[in-house]
């Protein structure tokens, strides 16, 4: 169920970012693992942290934080792969069309009346329909969720409600991690109190920040981190299932060898709950992940790297070879941040959606986006521009959320059905604009006032 946010509510959420109030905020390094002075710290944690330094530095250097567990390690690879798409045509220089002289008017003769005209909007109808996929299962359906979520079902481009009704609103999942991830400060300060408790974290995401569902990233299973056994990680899955009543998405660590085992185990303990397993990819054992989804009645996320043909291939493998039902597959064609390949991500998703609407049975599935990737852009987190000639970038506390919002909004227009996000302000604003476009917000405001307003 899409939570309804009023404009006022999200303005309130944003208010705390007002510049005046920022002056008191201490701006720290680009990324921090903070141990509160005086806080009782488990020596094991310290050891673990020390052992991790190498890895931490790596990520630190690279960007800012571990934004999206199942994407973190391969993020740059995906990005550059996407960027590396070879294009066939080398376009010669674009010629500048010459300025046409304005037509000479011999004598000004004005018409008496406006010429009547009728605007006839051009109608577009697509033969295809995006599959409807339901996440979560209630008691009567064999699970324990109080809420289920259905996405998909579109017969038109996103928010073209004048072409066809939008059967389901896109939804937003908030990311939850099973160990402290590295987060940009602007994000982290909202989760400070729950960073060590995934169940509380999930609860907060739903109750306070209006998450429609929750994505649990089992990053502690990463052999480069704690290498937590799959069976242990599965316990966190159970805890989070207990803590919230919304549907769950379960992600691994992004480790190609281990993820199939981790997701299989998670699928087993979540049997009947109809979670989404994130994700099956072409370069890991997709068959095992697909089979786990099938056996325990879950949905599988089919993730490819900005390549429409690979997306077709993987979908087909999952549908035909594994036998995933058509109502149990969602696609992640990869999200790149604004300024860092968003053009490719947008166009790839738009093409996939249009193909699906035109009747391509390998591509007419709902789309999921790891929108949190927006925080990988240096504009979102770096203190200021490293380029001297740049106009100063302004407070980064204000840059980060809008970077996530604009990345999300752009992809919403390409057809995304599920957003995985982190910043509560970004979640609220994206919801507001999607509800607006879907016609769920009755308000109106003066559209002429700006013309003569003083300010």
């Amino acid at each position: 169920m899409a939570e309804k946010f009023t404009l006022e509510e999200f303005f309130n959420l944003l208010k705390k970012y007002n510049v005046e109030e920022l002056e008191g905020v201490r701006i720290e390094g680009d990324l921090e693992i903070e141990i509160e002075p005086g806080a009782a710290v488990d020596p094991n944690t310290i050891n673990a942290l020390l052992a991790l330094t190498q890895y931490v530095n790596l990520i630190q250097e690279f960007g800012n934080f571990l934004y999206h567990a199942n994407m973190a390690l391969t993020y740059l690879q995906r990005l550059s792969q996407a960027f590396g798409i070879q294009l066939p045509v080398a376009a010669p220089q674009v010629q500048v069309p010459e300025v046409k002289p304005t037509v000479e008017v011999p004598k000004i003769k004005l018409p008496e009346k406006l010429k009547e005209a009728k605007f006839e909007p051009y109608k577009v109808e697509y033969p295809g329909k995006i599959e409807e996929v339901t996440l979560g299962a209630t008691r009567s359906e064999g699970g324990t969720r109080e809420i289920t979520i259905t996405v998909g079902g579109e017969r038109s481009l996103a928010f073209y409600t004048f072409d066809a009704e939008m059967p389901h609103m896109p939804v937003i999942a908030i990311d939850v991690f099973d160990r402290r991830p590295m987060l940009a400060k602007a994000v982290r300060e909202h989760y400070e109190d729950v960073l060590d408790d995934p169940a509380e974290w999930a609860r907060k995401a739903v109750r306070e920040f209006g998450a429609d569902l929750v994505t649990l990233h089992l990053i502690s299973t990463d052999p480069l981190l704690e290498d937590r056994p799959a069976s242990e990680a599965a316990k966190t899955v159970e805890e989070v299932l207990q803590a919230v009543k919304v549907p769950l998405i379960i992600g691994g660590s992004g480790n190609k060898e281990k993820d199939p085992e981790v997701l299989e185990k998670a699928a087993e303990v979540a049997e009947g709950e109809r979670v989404m397993l994130a994700s099956a990819t072409l370069d890991m054992d997709w068959e095992r992940i697909g089979n786990a989804a099938k056996k325990y009645g879950h949905v599988v996320l089919s993730w490819t790297q900005m390549d429409i043909n690979n997306q077709k291939t993987l979908n087909r493998y999952l549908l035909k070879r594994v036998g995933i039902p058509r109502d149990s597959l969602i696609m992640d064609p990869t999200t790149a941040a604004l300024g860092y390949g968003l053009d490719y991500a947008f166009t790839n998703m738009e093409r996939i959606r249009i193909s699906g609407l035109r009747g391509d049975q390998d591509l007419n599935f709902p789309i999921s986006s790891g929108t949190t990737n927006a925080w990988g852009a240096r504009e979102a987190w770096m203190k200021d521009s490293p380029i001297e000639e740049d106009t100063p970038w302004g407070p980064r506390e204000l840059r980060g959320p809008i970077w996530e919002i604009v990345t999300g909004l752009t992809l919403a227009l390409a057809g995304v059905d599920i957003f995985m996000m982190m910043h509560p302000g970004a979640v609220a604003v994206l919801k507001e604009i999607m509800n607006t476009l879907a016609g769920k917000i009755a308000e109106k405001a003066d559209e002429n006032a700006w013309i003569s307003m003083e300010g």
Partner: protein, 471 residues
């Protein structure tokens, strides 16, 4: 454009394959017209012949007509600073490309004092954000008449014109508009706006001063009716404003109107609405909210219509956190998806390096290259930058995919004669290519240092690691 096949264009060409246009055959020239990389008047023999022969002239005109963009192109301003809007041919960028990026105009108003006006104008003129080898900038200034005083408006418009940027003049009062046009019509400002109430006077102004004009109405029948009336009276340069309502059902309606207009222009071939579209995200500033919320909402509206068919916009917030996502998104959406994103491989000298300075290597993928190059340049780092031909792939992918190899690094070192230019043998490779360290050392005999993952941190890294400790 109407024609879809080069064959249809070929019929109009001289068919001599003379090559004067720069293409081997008339057929390939025709194919380029379809791609909109050249235009019919780029065929010299055809133009020459048309001057002599009225029949050929007619043919050329026909060709221009059938190959002109679906959406009319309108120019605001004059000279080097002029900005082109509209001229689009497709609804989705992958179908060809979008052509003229959404023009961004930021406002000043005439009840500000002159100092404040100057401040805002300077911000517009000076704004720059480095991105992929160039600086993203803003296009122009919209001057709003809030005094309702023709004299004051004229004064302010004159002042703003001094900044040399294209202008939009905003006033629904024809008297104020006339005063301003008497001052700056030469600069070819866009006038905003003709409505159902003032259209006659505005039509007269548009014709008299020969300036492009915005017609404005929420009712698309009325809007079309205004456009048709203006067109028939002889106004060529028309911009449509279907009225931006800032929130709720109003904003949803705006979204629908914008899409319907563009779709009907392109797919429905309705020439009467095939004009550039004006969107005014500034409308968010009339809402009751704090400044950050309004700035965010304005940015949201702008983003929405950068993706969906807004050709020119009036905005208010000059805070960089609001401008930056807008100019970046505009660049992304309007990037030609047909153009490869690579730079020339080879050696770049950064800040006049000496033989003692470090040698770096990166890939020829444009975003990687420009990021590294600009980080070095603006960090005042002297150094030698080797650019490896990775076929336009980024570091990590090319390392994995075999386009970034020790053998290729060796060749590049040889080709660029870098060994003759420096007196050390230390190569700094990207953090993401760390795994090639050993292989490159074995292959080249150079000592390889693994640099940071993000070139934004090179400066700090060098402070720690350069000059290298062990010789």
């Amino acid at each position: 454009m109407k024609v879809k096949s080069p064959l249809e264009i070929y019929r109009y060409l001289p068919q001599t394959n003379c090559g004067e246009c720069g293409y081997d055959t008339c057929m390939s020239f025709a194919a380029q017209i379809i791609e909109r990389t050249v235009k019919p008047t780029d065929c010299p023999p055809l133009v020459k012949e048309a001057e002599k022969n009225p029949k050929v002239k007619k043919k050329l005109e026909e060709l221009i007509e059938i190959t002109s963009p679906e959406v009319k192109e309108v120019i605001i301003g004059k000279g080097d600073n002029a900005v082109k809007i509209g001229g689009e041919d497709v609804l989705h960028r992958h179908e060809l490309t979008f052509f003229n990026p959404t023009a961004l105009f930021y406002d000043v108003w005439d009840t500000l004092d002159d100092k404040e006006i100057d401040e805002r104008c300077s911000k517009v003129v000076e704004y720059r954000k480095f991105y992929v080898g160039e600086f993203l900038t803003l296009d122009g200034i919209a001057v709003r008449c809030t005094s309702n005083d023709p004299k004051r408006f004229r004064e302010v418009v004159k002042r703003v014109a001094g900044y040399g940027k294209p202008m939009i003049l905003v006033s629904l009062n024809p008297e104020c508009m006339r005063a301003a046009l008497e001052e700056v019509a030469e600069e070819r400002p866009l006038i905003y706006a003709a409505t159902e109430d003032n259209w006659k006077e505005f039509l007269e102004l548009a014709l008299e001063f020969k300036v492009p004009v915005v017609v404005r109405s929420k009712d698309l029948n009325k809007l079309k009716s205004l456009a048709v009336t203006f067109k028939e009276a002889g106004v060529e340069d028309i911009v449509l404003d279907p009225v931006t309502e800032p929130i709720g059902e109003g904003l949803r309606g705006t979204f629908e109107r914008v899409i319907q207009l563009r779709r009907t222009a392109i797919l429905g071939e309705d020439k009467d609405v095939a004009y550039p579209i004006m969107v005014t995200p500034i409308a968010a500033w009339a809402l009751e909210a704090d400044d950050v919320s309004k700035a965010y909402w304005e940015t949201v509206i702008a983003s929405l219509f950068i993706v969906k068919y807004g050709d020119v916009m009036i905005l208010h917030c000059l805070e960089p956190y609001a401008i930056m996502p807008i100019v970046t998104l505009r660049y992304n959406i309007y990037t030609d998806p047909r153009t490869p994103v690579q730079v020339e491989p080879g050696l770049r000298e950064i800040n006049n390096p000496s033989p003692d300075d470090p040698v770096f290597i990166t890939t020829n993928f444009a975003l990687t290259y420009y990021t590294v190059e600009s980080d070095l340049t603006s960090g005042n780092i002297k150094g030698w930058l080797l650019v490896l031909d990775t076929e336009g792939l980024g570091v990590e992918v090319s390392v994995a995919g075999g386009q970034f190899t020790a053998a290729k690094v060796k060749d590049l070192i040889k080709e660029t004669k870098i060994e003759e230019k420096v007196n050390h043998r230390y190569l700094i490779i990207p953090g993401l290519a760390a795994r090639l360290q050993g292989a490159i050392e074995d292959e080249t005999g150079w000592k390889v240092l693994v640099g940071p993952m993000d070139s934004g941190r090179i400066k700090g890294w060098l402070e720690q690691n350069w000059p290298p400790k062990e010789k």
